[in-house]
Amino acid sequence: MAKAFGIINTPASHIKVEGLQQHRPIGAFSFLGRYRAIDFPISNMSNSDFTRIQVYVQGRVRSLAEHLGSGRHYNINSKRGKLQLLFSEENALNDIYNTDIANFMEYIDSIRRMREDYVVIAPSYMIYTQDYRRLLDTHVESGADVTLLYHKVENAKDAFLNCDFLNLNRQKGVASIERNIGSAKDKNIFMDTYVMKKELFVELIMKAKKTSSMYTLRDIVNAECGELDVRGVAHKGYFATLTDLKSYYHANLDLLDYSLASTLFDPEWPIYTKTTDACPTQYFEGASVKNSYISNACQVEGTVENSVIGRSCVIGKGAVVKNCIVLAYSTIGEGVHLENQIVDKWAQIIHAKEIVSDPADPGYIQRDDTL
C-alpha cells in the first residue's frame, strides 16, 4: 500500500483567470491541446503508486466530473483504489469564506478515515511532474513536520505574480510563505504542494478553522512556521502556473521548445488523460504548419505558426494562426488572420478578418462565440 494518499487542491479565491474560468475550474482547463490541467497532478500521483486520491472542486463541477469519471484512465485500480470527486457548493460564491479549509472541513470524516499515514497535497492549477515517492522519502528522512515543494525562478518580477514564494533560511527551513508582488527577480516560488502526516493535516485544518474562517491551508502553515519544522524541497524540470490568462498562454507556448517539452513528457512518466477517440488530423494541399502542437481530428488547410491547436479544429484555406492557443472544436474560417489569441472552445471566427493582440497582453475569444 502507498504510504500517502493524495489531495488535489483548489486555487485560493484571489486567483482568477479571465474568460476561461467562467466556464470551468482551472483544473479543467485545456492544456497543450489534448490534456486538462488536472491530468498532471493526478498522473503524478498515479505514477507514484498512490491508489487513493481526493479531488476537491468548487463551482462548476460538470467538466471535471465528466473528465475524471471513475479514474480508470489514470490507472487507478477500481477495486483497490479510489478517485473521489468532492465538491463544495456552500461557499463557492463568497470569496471570504471560499477557502480550501472550508472544503476540507466538509469532508473531514472522510480524510480521517484514510488508511495512509501521510498526505500529499498538490494544486490542480499548476503544471509539473514530480515523483511523490521521492518527495515523501525526503520528507520522512529529514524528520520535518511539513515539506513544501518550490521552484527557483529568475523572472519573479513579472511572472508568478499571483503566487506565493518561500522565505527560506540556509538549512532550507521555511521562515514564512509570502505573496510574490514582483519585488525581485529571484524567488523560490511555492508550488502549493505539501507533504505531512495525516494527523498533522487534520490538526492544522481544525486549528485554521478555529483561528479564522478566512484561513487557508497556506495561511495556517505560514502561521505555524515558527512552531513546526517546515522545510522546502527544490523542484527541477518544467514548471508553470495557470494563475492568470498570461501565465496560461505562456505555459502552453513555452512548450513549443521541444527540448523543454521533452522534460515534461517522459515516456517513463506518462501523463494520462481521457480519450475522446478523435481520429488523426488531416493536412490538405496548401497547408503550412511550423513550430506547433496540433491535436487529433483537426482539418488544416491554412497556415499555423507557433501555436497550440486543440482537438477537432478547422483551420480554413488561407487562414493564418500565429502565436495562438485554439481550444477544441473551434473553426478559423477562410482567410481569417489571428495573432496572439486564446480562442475558447466551439468558437467560430468566420466574419472577422483580422484579430491581432499585443503579445504581452493576449486576447481572449469567448466560448461558443461567433466573430
Partner: protein, 380 residues
C-alpha cells in the same frame, strides 16, 4: 443481449500471408491502419455502434497480440454489465482432444456452447480484417422484414472484377438469392459477398451440427453452409451495401487504403462523430510540427514529431521525421523513425523500424510499394 438480441462472432484467425513480414508475428486483423487504428477496430466499433452487446472473436493464427488487444472490451465501450468482447481461440474438449478451427463454419460450430449461453435470436458473422463502416442493426431490420433465414451483405463490384469474388445471383426485384457462385468464370451478377452474414440462430445451429459430422464438408460458410441453405430452399436475401469497403490483402492495397484517407471527401469519413471508430488509448502528447517542417496532404496522429518534409503520407502513432528527411507517398507505421536527411518514397515502413541518416528508401517510379520491415543503415 438487451439491445437487439443479436450476438456477433468475428472471424479473426486469418494470417494474411500476402502482407509478408507485417503478419509474421501478428494476425491480419491486428495490423495497423489509418494512423491510430488496427483493422479489427472497424468491425468491433461497428458492433458497438450497432447496439450489439456480446461479441466473440475467433482467433487462431499468431494470436497473442490480437487476443490481448481485443480482450479489453472497454476500448469499444463493450464492457458494461451486459456487454463484453470474448476471445475464443480453439480449445481442447473432453470428447475430441484439441481441435483447430477447420474452417469458418467449424469455428462457429466449436463455440455453439458459448453462443447458447446468451440464447440469441440472431447471429451475426463478421470478418475481422475488413475496413468499412456499417450499421448491422439496419441489416437486422432488413433480415426481419424479409423473414429471411439468412441475409448476406453484398457489395456491387465492377463486373469485370466479379470473377475474383463469391457472387450472389439474385432475383432482381426482391433481392432473394437464387444462386451462389464462388469466383465464377462468367459472372451473372456483380454482387460480391462481403463475408457478413446474419442468420436466424435456430436454423443455423441445426445446420452446423449436421455439418460437423459431414466428412465431405470443408466446414466453410461460402463453400458449404450457404449452398446447403439454398438447396434446402431456405430464404436467403442479399443486403446491398454502399460505401467504403476494403479487404487489404497485399502491401499495395494496405498502402492504398491508407492513402484513401488523404482525400478530403473520402467515404470512410473518420471525422463523423455519429459513428466513431474506437481504438486503443495511448498516452502521448499531441503531434509536434517543427519550425522547419513542411506538411502537406497528410494524415497524422498524436505522438508524431515532424521536423522534415511530409507529403502524401500517413503517419501512425509516435512516428518521427527528423530535420531534412522526406517522407513522400508513404506510410509510417507506429514508432517508425526516419532519421535526418533520409528520403522515403512509395514505401510502407513497418512498426518501430528505423531508417538511418541520409538513407534512400523506395523510388517514385516503382511499380509496387516497398515494404521496409528491417532497420535501414544510414549513409555518412
Amino acid at each position: 443481449m438487451s439491445q437487439n438480441n443479436m450476438l456477433a462472432m468475428i472471424l479473426a484467425g486469418g494470417r494474411g500471408s500476402r502482407l509478408h513480414d507485417l503478419t509474421n508475428k501478428v494476425a491480419k486483423p491486428a495490423v495497423s491502419y489509418g494512423g491510430k487504428y488496427r483493422i479489427i477496430d472497424f468491425p468491433l466499433s461497428n458492433c458497438a455502434n450497432s447496439g450489439i452487446d456480446i461479441v466473440g472473436v475467433l482467433t487462431q493464427y499468431e494470436s497473442v497480440l490480437l487476443n490481448s488487444y481485443v480482450a479489453q472490451g472497454r476500448r469499444w465501450g463493450l464492457d458494461t454489465r451486459d456487454s463484453g468482447v470474448f476471445v475464443l481461440p480453439p480449445r481442447e474438449k473432453a470428447d475430441a482432444g484439441l481441435d483447430v478451427y477447420r474452417g469458418t463454419a467449424d469455428a462457429i460450430s466449436q463455440n455453439i456452447d458459448f453462443i447458447d449461453n446468451y440464447d440469441p435470436e440472431y447471429l451475426l458473422i463478421l470478418s475481422g480484417d475488413h475496413i468499412y463502416k456499417m450499421n448491422y442493426d439496419k441489416m437486422l431490420d432488413y433480415h426481419k422484414e424479409k423473414g429471411a433465414d439468412a441475409t448476406i451483405a453484398v457489395l456491387p463490384v465492377p463486373i469485370k472484377e466479379a470473377s475474383r469474388f463469391g457472387i450472389m445471383n439474385t432475383d432482381g426485384e426482391t433481392n432473394k438469392i437464387v444462386e451462389f457462385e464462388e469466383k465464377p468464370k462468367n459472372p451473372k451478377s456483380n454482387l460480391a459477398s462481403m463475408g457478413i452474414y446474419i442468420f436466424t440462430w435456430k436454423t443455423l445451429r441445426k445446420l452446423l451440427l449436421a455439418d460437423m459430422k459431414n466428412p465431405d464438408s470443408s466446414h466453410d460458410f461460402g463453400k458449404d453452409i450457404i449452398p446447403t441453405l439454398l438447396n434446402d430452399g431456405k430464404a436467403l436475401y442479399a443486403y446491398k451495401f454502399e460505401g467504403y469497403w476494403k479487404d487489404v490483402g497485399t502491401i499495395d492495397s494496405l498502402w492504398e487504403a491508407n492513402m484513401d484517407l488523404l482525400n478530403k471527401q473520402n467515404d470512410l469519413n473518420m471525422n463523423d462523430t455519429t459513428w466513431t471508430i474506437y481504438t486503443e488509448d495511448v498516452t502521448t502528447p499531441p503531434q509536434y510540427i517543427g519550425a522547419n517542417a513542411s506538411v502537406e496532404n497528410a494524415y497524422i496522429t498524436q505522438g508524431c514529431r515532424i521536423e522534415g518534409k511530409v507529403k502524401n503520407a500517413v503517419l501512425f502513432t509516435n512516428s518521427v521525421v527528423e530535420e531534412g528527411a522526406q517522407v513522400i507517398d508513404s506510410v509510417l507505421m507506429p514508432g517508425a523513425y526516419v532519421e535526418a536527411g533520409a528520403v522515403v518514397t512509395r514505401a510502407l515502413v513497418a512498426d518501430n523500424v528505423r531508417i538511418g541518416k541520409n538513407a534512400v528508401v523506395g523510388s517514385a517510379d516503382s511499380e509496387n510499394i516497398l515494404l521496409v520491415a528491417k532497420r535501414v543503415k544510414g549513409v555518412e
